[in-house]
Homo-oligomer: 133 residues x 2
DNA sequence: ATGTAGGCCTCCAGTCACTGTAAGGTCAAG
DNA sequence: CTTGACCTTACAGTGACTGGAGGCCTACAT
């Protein structure tokens, strides 16, 4: 299977698949004309990578997950630990975003948003009120 | 005021302040020895930038916000529009993260996490269940 | 006067995960 | 035989810094 079809099937851009090969995440065969040739196994890996990335795992996480995926003897506990750590990171990021959101909506609520020049949002950013860090 | 003090007062790393000068966000004076010299006005701008960045505005957003901040005639509506757009983006990102979180915790819950090798998390990533995209 | 410690300077490279672009080879159809 | 779609590599750019090298400048102790 050529890279175009592999791209369509996996949902990953061809560029991304080539990049994954560059960094050693996947090693497709080569046809005589030099084109990459993806087997079913490769397609499974691409699908795996696509899902793991869409869940926010980093490339290095994916490398580890792939090796765990291929090691049929590994303990499921190893995977669970990684997944939990990742969940913690996500929870943390969500909290951060929510805090930003809260601060900014407070400022937005205070702003009348009309033709007049005085603006509580800019005042807030300038430090007259609110503002973390 | 030298960059070290400016860094301490604004909470921004000196490297970051130099970077902001590089990209034209701020233009401190220079002392005779070549050192940057930050006035009160510059310090206000740095504080402004620090807060805007901590609320997740991009550098380009900050550039716009700063110019609005300096234009005492602008309508507050202009600022409010930007802020609202940014809030929308944040809300969107939070939703995305929550969706990832939900999918992954479902998988984590199913995983017994012991010495046995079969792992619902990896199975899920491989596509046997769940998985977006 | 000298040593040394720290702060400051510039410039270049690296981060992460791609994405865009250029310049060219290959293949199937008309 | 040419067109156009598809494939190849290699290099540069993204955002927002961050790290490091190599070299002045300043302050203070000896």
């Amino acid at each position: 299977m050529n890279i175009g079809e592999a791209s369509t099937n996996s949902g990953l851009p061809a560029k991304t698949i080539r990049y994954y090969e560059d960094i050693g995440l996947i090693s497709p065969d080569r046809a005589e004309n030099g084109y990459r040739d993806f087997s079913e196994t490769h397609m499974h890996k691409l699908a795996f990578l696509s899902r793991a990335r869409s869940l926010g795992f980093t490339i290095e996480d994916c490398r580890t997950l792939l090796s765990l995926y291929e090691d049929t003897d590994r303990a499921s506990a190893d995977v669970k630990v990684m997944a939990r750590e990742h969940l913690d990171k996500m929870a943390h990021k969500i909290k951060e975003l929510e805090a930003m959101q809260a601060t900014l909506s407070e400022l937005v609520d205070k702003c009348h948003g009309d033709e007049r020049p005085d603006c509580p949002i800019l005042q807030g950013l300038a430090g007259e009120k609110a503002g973390k860090r």
